[in-house]
Amino acid sequence: MNQFMTMSKINSPRAPLAAQSLMMSHGPHTIIPHLDIELRTGEVTAIVGPNGCGKSTLLNGLARIHKPRQGTIVLDGADIHTLPARDVARKLALLPQDNSAPEGLTVTDLIRFGRHPHQSWLSQWSEDDERAVRKALTAADVGDLANRPLDTLSGGQRQRAWIAMSIAQETQLLLLDEPTSALDLGHQIEVFELIRTLASQGNTTKSSPPM
C-alpha cells in the first residue's frame, strides 16, 4: 500500500494549505523539482506513487519539518515559515510513517501529547483537552485500549493510537504518511472510513483553547 493521504477539513473559501513552485531536496539530490499543489477543504486528498517518488518529502515540506529549497508553503494565507510554531501546530498535524514512543507509555498518555499545542504552563488540562482526548479515543476506536501500554499492542492497534493522537490535536489539516501500511485489510478500511468521516465533519470539529 504505497499511498499516503492528505486530508483537509473545515470549509473556508480558499485552500488552507498550498505549495507554490515547491522544490525539495535532500542534500544534493532533488526530490521534488517543481510542484504547485492546493489542498482543498472538506476533502480527502490521496497522493499515490511508487517508493521513493517523494511522497514523504512533500509531506515533510508541507508540515514545515524540512525547509524547501525553493518556493513557499502557504497556510491560511501566510508563509508557513513565518508563522509561530505553536500557531501552525494548532492548524496542521503530521503523522509520520514510522513512530516510536517511550517505553511504558499508555494509549491515553500518547493521545494527550496531541493536546500539547493547546496547553501551557497555566493550562495543563482544560475541559477542551479532556473532551478532545475522549473524542479521539472513540473516533480511532481505541477506547478499550486506553490504559494499555503501547508496547503491548499489535501494530494495527498502535497505529490507531497514533492516529488518535493526531485527531486530538484538533487541527484543520491532518497529514497522514501511509497511515494504513501497518494494518490488516479490515483495519485499513476502518481507517479510510474514519478519515472520510473526519473530513465530512470537518467544520463541526471546533478547537477553542482558553487563552
Binding site: N60, L95, S123, S126, P149, L198
Partner: protein, 362 residues
Amino acid sequence: MNSSLDSTDTGQTPLHLTSGHWLWRSTTRPWSLLINKRSIVVNATLTLILLACALSSLALGTLSITIPDVILALQGKGTTMHTFVLEELRGPRLLAGALAGASFALAGCLMQTLARNRLATPGIIGIDNAATAFAVASVVGVGISAAPHTMALVGAAVATALAFGLAGATGTRGYRFIIAGLAIGAVSGAITQVMLSSVALDDANAAYPWTVGSLNARAPAAVNALIIGLIVGYTLSLFLNRALITLQLPEPVTASLGTRSGRVRVAGLILSVLLTGLAVSVAGPVGLIALLGPELARTISRPGSIPLTASALSGAILMVLSDLAGRLVFSPLEIPVGIIAALAGSPYLLWILLHKSPDINR
C-alpha cells in the same frame, strides 16, 4: 468503529483520563494544573533518602558522632569538637558533594533527553575531560593565571563548542555530536597526561585531585558559583520541561506538535554544559554520576516524563554516598569520590552497552 465523532458514550464505565493525577481547575480563569502523584511520591522519597544519607555523612568518619549529637550540634548546642568537625569539615563537604552530584545528574538528564541517547552524558562525551585539562593547565601553570575552577568552566564550554562545530549542530539523534565529543574527550585526557608528566612532581600532585574527582580540592568561590548555577539551571530546565517532553517522540511529531526542537536543543545543551562545568569546578570529573543519577531516576519515574527533579536528587544521593564510602572504607586513608563513583558506575556502563539499547526510550 463508531462513526459518530461526537458520541463519547461507549456504553462502558466512563474512562478516567487523569487517573494517577491531581487535577485543579480554576472556576474563574482558564487555568488548570495537572500534577502527577507518582512524581510527588518519587521526589518526596528521594528527598528523605538524601536527608538520611546527609545525616549519615555528617555522623560517620574518623570521629564518629551519634545522630542525636549531630542534631544537637546543628542546633548550636553541640560540643566545640563536634561543632568544628560538622561546620568546618563535614558540613561544607556534604554541601559541595550534594550540589555537585545534583548538578552532574541534572546535566546528564538534560543531555540524554536532547540527544535521545542514554550514553550522551557530559562525562562520556568528554566535557569533564576537557574541563579537567583546563583546570590542570591552570594548576601546573601553563602560562594561565585564572583559578582552576574558572578554567574548568571555560574548558567545558570550549569542548562543547568544538563538538558542536565538528558535528554540525546536535543532529536529531545526536550520534555525530557524541562521536565528536568522544574525540575531544580523548584528546583532552591525553593533554592532561602530557602536562602532568612534564611538570615537577609537586605540581603534578597538586593537580591530582582534579584528575580523579575529589571533594577535597573544592574552592569556596566555586561552591558559591555552583549554588547560583544550580538554582538558575534547575529553574530554567523546569521551564524547558514542556518542550523536552515532546522530544521523546519522533522528530517530525515533535515539530508537528509545535516544538522548535533546534532551539530547545541549544538551550538545553547550554544549561547542561553550564551545570557540568560548575560541578567539575567543585568536584572534578565525577561524570559517571551524570549517567547513574538519571538512570536511577528514570527507573522509578513515570514513563514518558523527564525526571529532572528526581535526577538531581538521585545524583546528590549517589555523590554523598560515594564520598561517604570513600572516606570510610580505608579510613583514615581517603579514596577520592571520583574513584568510588567509577568503581560503582563502570559495571553499570558495561551493562548498558551490552544489554540495553542506547535509545533513551527503550
